[in-house]
């Protein structure tokens, strides 16, 4: 996904110049600070600044509250607080006065600077906002100071600001709220100087999460599922059991008899929707529908059959994603060759809040309420289905009850479904499309299944000399609007990320990718390609270390220390070494595992961050393993909120661990076998290891935190199991082989 973003960033027109502007904060009064859109300099000079050309990031009101408009979706990763921290830092605000709100959908104003469209993903929220939101805070501060200077008749340079209070040595002081109106009347400074890191009071220190209080009292209107509009109908949509099937016949007689059911409608291409006055009648009626499906054009292969096809493909040559030196010759002449074939299942995201979306169409306007993660695509999609202008689609973003990638899909299927239902229903009435857990689990958009076939050669001294890596995996991007950004010469960058930048010193590397077409919709799943590639690379490195008779850490150190011939890889390796050495120190690796415990290590780069993890496991009497403890070291550049980075590592570890231990989506004749948390087993309290995280101090620009904790946990656990059993599990999940 990283490559996708880089290409999108290169392709997207980016504003070359941004100047900050202020507007009156409307009825509430006070100061509104943001950037002016490019191309409107002339208008600004004429004093014609208007809402249309103004991008508000910060609002300071006379009640002394500072509200930050978050252009991203917060689905648990904490960016609402992260962006508020950036503003509060430059503003010298107090933590208590900070608030966060989600910005509306408006690509020109609120685009992700790394994507070129408005959206959240790829662990970019902080990385792409770091300068933008600090500048907004610094501009607001300068204006408040200027207003105080004018009011008090003193020099601005004599005024200090601390924890939300402006003060002067003469004893005069004021709150931001008291100066907000006066500040709004002043000119915006042309440029502002940002603090240097040694001046930071919040960044890198700590900041309380702004959403936690609401989330501990069950506050209303927090999540998409909480939306209750007047006169609202609830829609529950029954989708085909096989992807691509259509309705052959429908008997809704019994469903229609359920009290509260308003109608049952055929939604061509999507299924059958029950519309009811509240949720339960819709769910109950769904269970009474009698639908026969036409599966003649559907994907009806079973996952076992797909794996057979993938294993066969893995024997054949495919498009090359990297070729350095002659890996075949190196393997031919190697003193030792280690080889393995890995199998990864489809995975569902399984976020706690199933997919949900409320839409209200009124004439040529539509309003949506939901956790919006891909505003620009969603907005365009709703407009296209409804046949209305894109700017007539308003999006109200609510907190997401998790996402892990699920709430951004290339085709915005959930938007299409809701808009189609609203269009067919025809009445101007809010419709809330609710996915049941079963709907959510079976709806597709899975992490792709995959097969990796790898051969690794070592010389007589135990040095890596050849690496041959072949991947068979369905493309995320082919056939989507994003294909031109992410697929080059048959290579989908999301299939090979995490191995295409393989950086251990090796004489020759050769990588190939097959991208078979399958009718199951696939999507990014927390850390995208990295859950497979990190697992394969890091378990193979352990196997190579074993073949070389070396300790797994010593072997890694040796191959990370040696010059690779690539400056980029050498730079990666220096930071990988940093986190590796830290986790070795934290875990006391050199002293070995305690009696009855076994340890494994893994280190991986994803989303420009570097994470190393050590997992310690024990074996139960029934042969299954329990993960007892995980140590984690992360280098993500400047950690804006270190405790939140730790929380993301803890959560990323738990999320990855549940999948590695228990989870797979399987198909029988094209029908998804899993339905709910009874058959798609989530990690539970009793399965969660103790986790210790250290964040490496860094002055580098901030990089991702939401995803990079996930990739290393699989191989770290697998390597610990190898330490116990002598073999690395190559088929996931571990429960399939009785290991979990």
């Amino acid at each position: 996904m990283l490559h996708l973003m880089q290409r999108m960033a290169n392709a997207a027109p980016r504003p070359s110049r941004r100047s900050f502007l202020k507007l009156s904060a409307g009825a509430a009064g006070g100061l509104l600070i943001g950037v002016k859109l490019p191309g409107s300099l002339a208008q600004a000079a004429e004093g014609a600044a208007s809402d249309q050309m103004f991008t508000p990031f910060v609002r300071i009101t006379p009640d002394n509250l500072v509200t930050v408009l978050n252009k991203h979706l917060d689905m648990g990763q904490g960016n609402a607080t992260g962006l508020a921290t950036l503003v509060a830092e430059e503003l010298d605000a107090s933590t208590e006065q900070m608030r966060a709100e989600f910005a509306p959908a408006d690509n020109a104003k609120y685009q992700n600077l790394l994507f070129g469209v408005q959206g959240t993903g790829g662990s970019t929220a902080i990385a792409n906002s770091f300068e933008q939101y600090r500048k907004a805070g610094a501009t607001a501060r300068a204006m408040l100071v200027a207003a105080a200077a004018e009011a008090w008749g003193v020099a601005a340079s004599e005024i200090s600001v601390k924890a939300g209070t402006l003060s002067h040595p003469s004893g005069k002081s004021a709150t931001f709220g008291e100066m907000a109106e006066a500040a709004a009347a002043l000119d915006v400074p042309g440029d502002v100087t940002l603090k240097t890191p040694d001046q930071w009071v919040y960044i890198g220190k700590g900041f309380p999460r702004l959403d936690v209080a609401n989330k501990t009292v069950g506050a209303p209107n927090t999540y998409g599922m909480d939306v209750q509009r007047d006169d609202q109908l609830v829609a529950v949509l029954t989708r085909p059991r096989a992807f691509g099937a259509t309705v052959a016949s429908l008997n809704a007689d019994e469903a229609r008899k359920v009290a509260g059911v308003v109608d049952v409608i055929d939604v061509p291409g999507h299924g059958v929707a029950v519309l009811a006055t509240s949720t339960w009648p819709a769910i109950k009626a769904q269970g009474l529908l009698e639908i026969e499906w036409d599966e003649s054009k559907a994907e009806t292969r079973s996952s076992d059959a797909l794996f057979d096809e993938y294993r066969t493909l893995a024997q054949a040559e495919g498009p090359v994603f990297r070729h350095d030196g002659d890996a075949a010759a190196q393997l031919e002449g190697a003193a030792n060759v280690v080889e393995e074939t890995f199998e990864f299942p489809y995975l569902a995201h399984g976020m706690m809040e199933p997919m949900v979306l409320t839409i209200h169409v009124e004439g040529d306007r539509a309003t949506l309420w939901y956790p919006a993660q891909f505003q620009t695509v969603d907005q365009a999609t709703a407009a296209s289905v409804l046949g209305i202008p894109q700017e007539n689609v308003a999006i109200n973003t609510l907190y997401g009850g998790g996402s892990f990638g699920r709430r951004t899909s290339f085709d915005a299927k959930h938007i299409v479904e809701a808009a189609s239902i609203a269009k067919i229903w025809g009445k101007s009435q809010p419709i809330k499309l609710v996915y049941t857990r079963e709907d959510d689990t079976r709806a597709g958009y899975y992490r792709p299944m995959g097969v990796h076939k790898v051969r690794v050669g070592l010389d007589a001294d135990g040095n890596l000399v050849g690496w041959h890596h072949r991947i068979v995996q369905q493309s995320l991007m082919s056939g989507t609007a994003f294909e031109s950004f992410a697929v080059k010469d048959g290579i989908d960058s999301t299939s090979v990320e995490g191995v295409e930048d393989f950086s251990y010193a090796v004489s020759a590397f050769h990588g190939e990718l097959h991208s078979p077409k399958v009718g199951v919709p696939v999507l990014w799943w927390r850390s995208v390609g990295h859950t497979q590639t990190a697992y394969v690379v890091e378990t193979m490195i352990d196997r190579a270390a074993e073949a070389a008779g070396a300790d797994p850490v010593a072997f890694r150190r040796a191959h990370l220390t040696r010059k690779t011939g690539s400056d980029a890889h050498d730079a990666d390796n220096a930071r990988k070494l940093g986190v590796l050495d830290k986790v070795v120190e934290m875990s006391g690796w050199s002293e070995g595992a305690p009696e009855g415990r076994f340890r494994g290590v893994a280190v991986h780069k994803s989303f420009n961050s570097y994470v190393a993890e050590v997992a310690e496991v024990s074996r139960r009497d029934d042969g299954t393993f329990k993960v007892e403890k995980v140590w984690c070291a992360v280098d993500c550049g400047v950690a804006v909120n270190p405790d939140n980075v730790k929380a993301q590592m803890e959560g990323g570890i738990g999320y990855g661990l549940g999948a590695i231990l228990f989870d797979e989506i399987t198909l029988t004749d094209g029908h998804v076998d899993q339905e709910n948390f009874d058959t798609y087993r989530p990690l539970r309290m009793e399965d969660m290891p103790a986790v210790e995280v250290e964040v490496i101090a860094s002055a580098a620009a901030p990089t991702g935190a939401g995803e990079p904790g996930t990739p290393p946990i699989g191989p770290a656990v697998a390597n610990a199991i190898r330490a116990a059993t002598g073999s690395v599990p190559s088929v996931l999940p571990l429960s399939k082989a009785g290991l979990a």
């Binding site: 959403d211 909480d226 209750q228 857990r437 969660m688």
Partner: protein, 152 residues
């Protein structure tokens, strides 16, 4: 009409008696703090307390709870609840937060019964409550923290 006592108030609802308590709370009484996660009592997001005991409201028919005292996240209070909610805030437990109403009601019921729970007690009491953000590490720490607060 079905008569309920929710958060100390008597309420009447006119619904199909089979309706799960969860949907009565959310759709009829506008108490949306109680969450839908699975509908089969497998995730605990819908946890409420019935006469003090943690109960999965998605698998509880509304007609079966007449006469019981139902407590939801909006109404939970007392020493254990205050300690739990304070500890949750102090340790920044929630990430997405969607499961946390259920977690807090389960933790409160645990501490009311067992003021000084061991890790095994926590595993036993809390393993029915799923958190897909995997905040378990902090939930455990916050329960211990709340236990200390209650003692002090």
């Amino acid at each position: 009409m079905i008569r309920l006592n929710v958060n100390g108030e008597d309420r009447e609802v006119d619904v199909d008696p089979e309706t799960p308590l969860l949907w009565v709370l959310r759709d009829e009484l506008q108490l949306t703090g109680t969450k839908y996660g699975c509908g089969i009592a497998a995730c605990g997001a819908c946890t409420v307390q019935m006469d003090g005991f943690p109960t999965r409201s998605c698998q509880t028919r509304v007609s079966d709870v007449e006469g019981a005292k139902i407590t939801t996240i909006e109404g939970v209070d007392g020493k254990a609840a205050s300690a739990v909610q304070a500890a949750w805030r102090e340790l920044d437990v929630p990430q997405c937060g969607y499961c946390q109403s259920g977690q807090i009601l389960a933790a409160t019921a645990l501490l009311a019964e067992t003021p000084k729970p061991s890790d095994d007690d926590i595993d036993a009491a809390m393993s029915g409550n799923v958190c897909r953000c995997a905040t378990y590490h902090r939930i455990r720490a916050a329960i211990h923290r709340a236990s200390e607060t209650m003692e002090g």
